[in-house]
């Protein structure tokens, strides 16, 4: 028995016609850390969801210790010792750590949940695996690094011998990542088998024994990590060599387009979500906002885009206070917004591509005359955008839900980055998007900047922030704790220290710099 687990010729086609996996074979050896690598949308997560029983394969077979497996649900997978930690944590924020870990397997005392036993169980578990967690802490108040540990413990508590970790480092700072790796190595020594999904090549080289590379739903082969170079992995992931360098025009910044003054926000909580934020984004400038998820970035973006109220302080876009404007009026002044959640906010899924492209300008003179839409002009414009952004689709009249994530995002960016756009708020503009599409999106954001637009960029991808930003601020617990005017002096490690709140720049200095 050479392999602990094998997946053979697995294919998966979704109901909307997207082929997520095509004839993929995948195998695990007992006690290895196996990296599953590929671009976003290459089918890594789908393959693992099949293994974990969340998706049914359209064809293909699974073998555990050479015995064919029939997994119909996650419960089946857990019974066979397979556990998965999802990219988005599946934890109840209002529960304590012990309650989350014992959810569904609660120790009972005469049909009542025995809280003390749950706490004891959690303590014993955290000792056994050397994961320091407080069983009585309320989950919602904990940092993401700890939440991830809880997820891993949850899987172990259910008897998982094979652990699937879906992009575990995406939400972690460099320091937290390092700690996670140490823990994974310990688990491996105890005989656990770990699947590590990632698209970061450095991490794969650092931690894995073997690596399976996926591209466009197909497997590009499996390799011993020590025998393949970073460059080789990279080429196999992309399938060709791609130049993703970005050239920005050197220029002086113009007048302030976004001015935020003394902005504080509580949103009904006792602790401020945002505290005394001051900054200006000027014409021709990209300002990046870094920070660990949940430090107020989402709220800041939502206030700037009017999904949340300004409680105190002021926000001005093009010198006008946003409180006195409707979204329509803001948009008429050249306001663009690439939202974080494109499926829920960025597109109308069952509408056509062209209808999605005009939602912020359908009633301008160019596309509308006395209430009647100019169909020809709209089609012309849509075809032009599809060509300019090389959107892969069946045509401008096809439904947008037939497009891949990357192409859908190109439609969103094409709509928001117009010639008329003077202010752009971009939230995770390339999350879940392949390298090629990300490059096109980057180019267009920079083009907007070069033409005098002001861009506020929120991103969890530090490489993206460093590549695009002219100035960069780091958020921690609702405040700016660092501000860089010169990005060449930044290292990712130093950024990590600010993001974790370990280091802080002087507040008055930050304030002076970003609001001069």
């Amino acid at each position: 028995m050479e392999y602990l687990l094998r997946m053979e010729n697995v294919s998966k086609i979704y109901g909307n016609g997207i082929v997520a996996n095509k004839d993929v074979s995948f195998s695990l050896k007992q006690g290895e850390i196996h990296a599953l690598v590929g671009e976003n949308g290459a089918g890594k997560t789908t393959l693992m969801k099949i293994l974990f029983g969340m998706e049914k394969p359209s064809s293909g077979k699974l073998y555990l210790r050479d015995k064919e497996l029939d997994i119909n649900s996650s419960n089946d997978a857990i019974k066979h010792g397979i556990g998965m930690v999802h990219q988005h944590f599946m934890l109840l924020d209002s529960f304590t750590v012990a309650q989350n870990i014992t959810l569904g397997i609660e120790p009972a005392n005469h049909h009542f949940v025995d809280e003390n036993a749950a706490v004891a169980f959690t303590e014993q578990l955290s000792r056994q695996y050397n994961f320091a967690v407080d069983p009585r802490a309320v989950t919602g108040t904990l940092p993401v690094g700890i939440k991830q540990k809880i997820e891993i413990l949850k899987a172990l508590a259910r008897g998982a011998k094979i652990l699937i970790l879906d992009e575990p480092t995406a939400v972690l700072t460099p320091q937290e990542t390092e700690q996670l790796f140490e823990e994974l190595v310990k688990l491996k020594k105890q005989g656990y088998t770990i699947v590590f999904i990632s698209h970061k090549i450095k991490e794969i080289k650092a931690i894995s024994d073997r690596v399976t590379i996926m591209r466009a739903g197909c497997s590009e082969g499996v390799f011993n990590t020590s025998e393949i170079s970073e460059q080789e992995i990279s080429n196999k992931i992309v399938g060709w060599k791609i130049d993703t360098s970005i050239h920005k025009k050197e220029h002086a910044f113009g007048e302030a387009r976004i001015s935020v003054t003394n902005l504080s926000y509580y949103g009904g909580e006792k602790v401020p979500i945002l505290q005394d934020i001051n900054f200006q984004v000027k014409s021709g400038m990209i300002m990046g906002i870094a920070g660990v998820q949940g430090n107020g970035q989402v709220e800041l973006a939502e206030i700037l885009t009017k999904s949340r109220r300004v409680e105190s302080g002021s926000v001005k876009i093009n010198q006008s206070d946003i409180q006195s404007m409707t979204i329509k009026e803001m948009r008429e002044k050249g306001f663009g917004y690439i939202p974080e959640d494109r499926q829920r906010q960025g597109v109308a899924l069952t509408a056509a591509v062209n209808e999605n492209l005009i939602s912020n300008k359908y009633d301008t003179e160019k596309f509308c005359n006395k209430g009647i839409l100019k169909k020809k002009k709209i089609s012309e414009y849509a075809r032009q955008m599809i060509a300019e952004y090389s959107v892969k689709c069946s045509g401008e009249n096809g439904r947008i839900d037939g497009l891949s994530g990357g192409n859908m995002q190109k439609v969103v960016v094409a709509r928001e980055c117009m010639e008329e756009t003077k202010v752009l708020i971009a939230e995770q503009p390339t999350r879940g998007v392949d390298i090629g599409a990300a490059h096109i999106i980057h180019q267009n954001i920079v083009k907007l900047r070069d033409n005098g637009g002001a861009v506020l960029l929120f991103s969890a991808d530090m490489a993206e922030l460093i590549k695009l930003s002219d100035v960069l601020a780091v958020m921690y617990e609702g405040r700016f704790v660092a501000y860089y005017e010169n990005l060449s002096e930044i290292t990712e490690e130093e950024l990590g220290l600010y993001m974790l709140g370990i280091k802080k720049q002087d507040e008055s200095q930050i304030r002076r710099m970003c609001y001069e």
């Binding site: 086609i13 008429e332 960025g346 109308a348 839409l373």
Partner: protein, 346 residues
Amino acid sequence: MSREKSFHVLRTTVALIIAMLAAFAVIFMVSDTPIESIRLFILGPFSKPRYIGNIINTAIPLIFSGLSMAVVFQASQFNMGAEGIFYFSGAVISLIAIWVPLPVGVHQVVIILAAAVIGALIMLIPGYLKAKYGASELVTSLMMNSILLGLGSYLMTRVLQDPMASNGSYPYLDTAKIPVIIPAFKVHYGLFIALLCVAAVSVFLYKTKWGYEIRMVGINAKFASYSGINIVKTIIIAHLVSGAIAGIGGSVESIAMHTRFEWNGLPGYGFTGALIAMLANNNPVSVIYAALFVAYLSTGADIVARLSDVPAEMSTILQSLIILLIASERFLHSFKQRWMERGIAK
């Protein structure tokens, strides 16, 4: 046609076939001459010009109610108010039809326009409550139906009731009536008004900015609001248009098919309208076909009820079955999956 669209057509067809088979099963159970009854049910509606005319005349109010529903459904508003509006606009325009003498032509136009305004104003109430305060339009519109029924009955007993007639208002003036086109078929001119409305709604929904706003709000309200579309305004517009169409439907039905106001309760067009809109996937042109089909079924059921031993309630059972099958999202789901897969494999 895309596979997605073909699937909708396929699902609708299969649902209809299953419903028909269920109807046959019912006939077999209750009828002593089942084969004859089924023959009457399927072929009966085409056996005489009068019956064909009856299909079309039955379809006309269904086109109005289906259109009215399609407009609100497109905005993802589940408003059932068309039911009450049909009834109430019929009652109110009876005042004009009985007591306001006007020349032929003008009389009908005044009646229809008045009905449109009444319908729109009534719909404004649930529409405004939903748009502004988030009150469920389903609940408010159903409540409104009861209120409208009460108001209509009050109007009937206190004002309209003809003491000489056993159960009806004073007769309508001749100038108010909508005449028949071809006497043999008995189809009335309301057909053209209905088709005109279909064309108008089609243009409104797919060619104007208001239609665009309604559809975007219906597909994804978050997206619409983020794009700058005024949701409150859009929801209210959808309700106004829907109400106006329902109002027109109620008035046309009254002055074309009746010589006096004689509805004693809600006529049921609104609820059937929801079925029609669903069958038509909220597409205005498809509403015509869906209405004709439902009209054909109910005509068939009427004929069977009259000429054989099967009760007319069968038609109601059939309609409910169709709604059930169409409304179940997951119906034929696994089939859809395989169908999509095959499309890609090609």
